[in-house]
Amino acid sequence: MNEEIIIAGFGGQGVLSMGKILAYSGVMQDMEVSWMPSYGPEMRGGTANVTVILSDSRISSPILKMYDTAIILNQQSMDKFEPFVKPGGVLVYDGNGITRHPERKDIQVYRVDAAEEAARMQSPKTFNMIVLGGYLKIKPLVSLDNVMLGLKKSLPERHHRLLPMNQAAIERGGEIIYKVEA
């Protein structure tokens, strides 16, 4: 198993932390993992992206050109990364703010309207966990138990009271994600 993922969106959407939680979940499941962010001034409110790799074997390059899965959270990222999903790969996106929807026919496209759902659940900060839950429904590479362990490791202890809320968001993401037929 070797899953190469790009997660991309605005700074502040929790892109990097979502990647970290996913990677930490992989660690808890005894996988090899890497988490490679874009860093720098662009992170201050601009676009942010992170490459996460989960694998059974030693990971070679943490920087990639083509991805098994792209998780896209804004239009700029859609424009940038849609072409770099491997044929047959997966694109997960949130429809909020998207004006040009995915156009490729050789990939599987899923939509999870996490921003809308987070607003409805009145917990906007769990937005990225709804997305993560959606992704894990499509690619159940790590168990929910290990995701929760990864989440616990990633969050500072003072935020551990928020774990149940995050778990609910992950589960909700799995319920609301749907396949966009080509």
């Binding site: 930490y24 890497s34 962010p37 990971i59 070679s60 390059s61 990639l64 050109k65 990633s154």
Partner: protein, 363 residues
């Protein structure tokens, strides 16, 4: 302290800090610069002065940092600093004094693109500065190139071991990619810091206050007698030759049957590993040789492959620095070319394969 197997997901920079505390470092002196500020930030959060007694100090500049390292190293203490390219340039004065005074220490360079203020994105364009001396005079640093977060952690201890073995500064040459990426890392158990008594035993040259029974210790790099200074320079060169004989470290992948060889270190080696997989899938017999020590350079190891290797692509995030050492090694026996993106652009594995086909196989 908890000494059971400790596996974490962390950034390369954070791993440096954790490893420093765990391997019994006495002092860290640094100055913030992107992309390595997490080293000092992590140390400050972990407050090792409350546990191991390690001193952590933010200096007024990189110049002060490296000279604090000199002061601490002169006392036989395990001291280190970290910075990124522009800051490392400022440290070159201190490094040549450290080398001239034969002081052990560890310096980490999380390289970013230059010249000048350049970019905060990763690069490998400080190779010459690292392996050819960097400051004035004939000297060498021991240069280790980690290619993973695990190695960022492990090489702190290795660098100190080598630095003290040879009484020479050791440099960990990383880059923004290895510094900023997170990977799984197994942290080693805590080791006690050396006591002052242990230091006096192990490092009789250290300035710890002169007891009546020994001569005074003087840490210096001044020698005004030309003949004596020539002898001293020869002694340094003997030391560097011994390192070349005994301390070369490298990793080889698929080199046994390779017709073509990629030579790359650090982050580029990771990318080349993937490139090698892609090329092998296309039926090209490619191997990868990853120097772990850049000084001493794996000369013999590369030469040993020249019986079956027909061409070498040296891949680094620079305009072509290490390629000169590869060419010196190969002595014209096979074709050697350079490939690398610069300015903070990182080459993709696909680009490396394309360059190999264009510059070596087809060229």
């Amino acid at each position: 302290m908890d000494n059971k197997k400790d596996i974490r997901l962390m950034k390369g920079n954070e791993a440096i800090a954790e490893a420093a505390i765990r391997c019994g470092v006495d002092g860290y002196f640094g100055y913030p610069i992107t992309p390595q500020s997490e080293v000092m930030e992590t140390l400050m959060l972990l407050k090792p002065w409350e546990t191991t007694g390690m001193v952590v100090l933010q200096a007024e500049s990189e110049i002060a940092s490296i000279n604090m390292v000199y002061g601490g190293a002169g006392c036989g203490k395990k001291v280190m600093t970290s910075s990124s390219s522009p800051g490392i340039s400022l440290m070159q004065e201190g490094l040549t004094y450290l080398a001239g005074a034969e002081l052990p220490c560890v310096v980490v360079n999380v390289v970013r693109g230059g010249p000048g203020l350049g970019t905060i994105q990763p690069a490998q364009s400080d190779y010459f500065q690292s392996v050819k001396g960097g400051g004035h005079g004939d000297y060498k640093l021991i240069v280790l190139a980690p290619a993973s977060v695990q190695e960022m952690a492990d090489f702190v201890e290795l660098a100190f071991d080598l630095a003290f073995k040879y009484r020479n500064p050791a440099l960990i040459l990383s880059d923004g990619m290895i510094g900023q990426m997170m990977e799984k890392v197994e942290l080693k158990p805590y080791r006690k810091r050396w006591t002052n008594e242990e230091i006096k035993q192990m490092h009789p040259w250290a300035t710890m206050g002169k007891p009546a029974e020994r001569e005074r210790n003087i840490i210096t790099s001044v020698e005004l007698d030309p003949n004596a200074f020539e002898r001293f320079n020869h002694k340094l060169q003997d030391k560097y030759r011994k390192m070349q004989e005994e301390e070369v470290r490298c990793e080889q992948f698929n080199c046994e049957d390779a017709e073509y060889l990629l030579v790359a270190y650090g982050s580029s080696a990771r990318i080349c590993q993937k490139a090698m997989e892609l090329a092998r899938a296309k039926g090209i017999k490619v191997g990868l040789l990853r120097p772990i020590t850049l000084f001493p350079f794996p000369t013999r190891e590369i030469q040993a492959l020249l019986g079956h290797v027909k061409g070498i692509l040296s891949v680094e995030l620079s305009e072509g620095q290490m390629v000169e050492d590869v060419r010196l090694t190969v002595e014209g026996k096979v074709k050697v070319e350079h490939f690398g993106r610069v300015g903070g652009v990182v080459h993709s594995p696909e680009e490396v394969v394309e360059a190999l086909e264009r510059k070596i196989i087809g060229g």
